[in-house]
């Protein structure tokens, strides 16, 4: 679909509202994420970070507003959401690996079923991705035998196997033991360096500061602050962000 949007914009969010029944969770968020940009989404618990992220691949259906991915408004009923989702990877707090498939099968599954890759191609690609996240030796293992950090790295490899242009992360390290956080953040850092467009909900302030190009601070369903990491961490504008940072740091 031709678009008159700026070709540099990966995701454009326009006046996004989301209700769960009576509860208004997102109250008019507008923003743009450029291609290759890494955006950290932070904010207090319940502020709507996950909901915001999940709207971007329509795991939650926005109540009002528009979301453009590569210029296509994905909130329009006629869009092929399966097609859009192939282009947007998502990594969850609790990994959600498929427990009845081996690590390799987890990574090969969607390329074979959705992209109709041959088994040979899919396997080559999966092996390369597992090597990239440092887990080629675990290819034949079932997820239940992996540590949390390993599971999350497999989950990242599984998402990357669809060769997405955008990656969404919802607190990818929050369920991990502290000693495993780094191995996952390192993989994400590598991904960021490779030019991937990323939106990351995280409580890892150090990581956000170091890797993100921009910080979005959500508070009570509103985008309370949109700043570079330097500005945000050294000189937060709103009181809520100040309070939040005092608690976090």
């Amino acid at each position: 679909m031709p678009s008159n949007e700026n070709y540099n914009v990966a995701v454009k969010v326009n006046d996004l509202h989301k209700y769960f029944g009576e509860l208004q969770v997102l109250k008019g968020i507008s923003n743009e994420i450029n291609k290759g940009e890494v955006v950290a989404i932070i904010g207090p618990s319940g502020s709507g970070k996950s909901t915001f992220l999940r709207c971007m691949n329509l795991l939650e259906v926005p109540t009002k507003g528009n979301i453009y991915v590569d210029g296509v408004d994905i909130t329009q009923p006629k869009v092929d959401i399966m097609k859009i989702r192939q282009n947007i990877g998502m990594v969850f707090q609790h990994f959600h690996l498929f427990p009845h498939m081996t690590v390799l099968e987890n990574v090969m599954y969607a390329p074979i079923k959705v992209k109709k890759l041959s088994k040979v191609e899919a396997k080559q690609q999966a092996s390369a991705l597992l090597a990239r996240v440092g887990l080629e030796s675990k290819a034949q293992v079932y997820p239940s035998r992996l540590s949390g950090g390993q599971k999350q790295r497999v989950a990242i490899a599984r998402s990357l196997a669809m060769q997405p242009e955008i990656m969404l992360f919802d607190e990818p390290t929050s369920a991990l033991d502290p000693e495993m956080v780094k191995e996952v953040l390192d993989v994400m850092k590598g991904l960021a360096d490779s030019g991937m467009t990323m939106a990351i909900v995280t409580h890892e302030m150090g990581f956000a500061k170091e890797v993100a190009d921009r910080i979005l601070f959500l508070d009570e369903g509103k985008l309370a602050e949109d700043a570079t990491p330097d500005d945000f961490f050294s000189n937060p504008q709103c009181d809520r962000a100040k309070q939040f940072l005092e608690k976090m740091l």
Partner: protein, 219 residues
């Protein structure tokens, strides 16, 4: 009471021959019932109102009426309604599959709902269409969770299979009744039948238990 098994010993092989039929009957009903139950359970969790409505009414009817009534209806009504001369065995398998599908659909529905929501979300986020997500991701996990219940259903089918003797299928029970009528002794053949059923059910129960243990260990 004097029990004299000596007189029916020559007839025991005849009764035993019913085992194969009973097992076949149970296996077929289990398989078709499972497939039909899967379809019904998918109807139940779908957002398509006529399908959920149909499967709920269907389940209610088949759970709310006696199996023997269903069996008689299907056996006697099918030839009249369709002109197809249904054999007693076919009528039995058909009825039992329809009936067990109703029960199993509830079990499978529960199994599907018990699968972590994240599994479906992970599949969706990879762009996997609904049907593939169900078939490749959700159902295998759901079925694994409910295997013990399915094994139980199969055991119930086996015991209920004696009902088909009413429409003349020569299963274990029917054969023991034939022997009883021939020899004018009633307890002994029926006791033999009871013993055979008990041994089979115990075998299946032990197998199901071993399977359950194995699954518990592997997860």
């Amino acid at each position: 009471m004097n029990l004299d098994f000596g007189r029916i010993i020559p007839n025991i092989p005849f009764i035993l021959q019913g085992i194969l039929l009973t097992l076949q009957f149970t296996a077929l009903s289990t398989i078709f019932g499972f497939l039909w139950g899967t379809v019904l359970s998918l109807f139940k969790i779908s957002n398509i109102t006529p399908l959920t409505w149909f499967s709920n009414v269907y389940t209610s009817i088949f759970r709310g009426t006696p199996l023997l009534v269903q069996l008689s209806l299907i056996y006697y009504a099918t030839p009249q309604l369709t002109g197809y001369n249904i054999s007693p065995l076919e009528a039995g398998v058909f009825t039992f599959s329809l009936n067990s599908g109703a029960y199993i659909s509830e079990t499978i529905r529960g199994g599907i709902l018990a699968v972590d929501r994240g599994q479906g979300e992970a599949a969706k986020s990879l762009g996997v269409p609904y049907s593939m997500m169900m078939w490749d991701v959700i159902l295998p996990q759901a079925v694994k969770n409910i295997l013990p219940a399915l094994a139980n259903e199969s055991i119930n089918l086996l015991k209920d299979s004696t009902l088909v003797s009413v429409i003349g299928v020569t299963d274990i029970l029917r054969r023991s009744q034939i022997v009883a009528a021939e020899k004018f002794i009633y307890f002994e053949p029926i006791l033999v039948a009871a013993l055979i059923y008990y041994v089979i059910v115990m075998g299946l129960t032990t197998g199901a238990y071993a399977l359950e243990r194995k699954l518990q260990r592997s997860s």
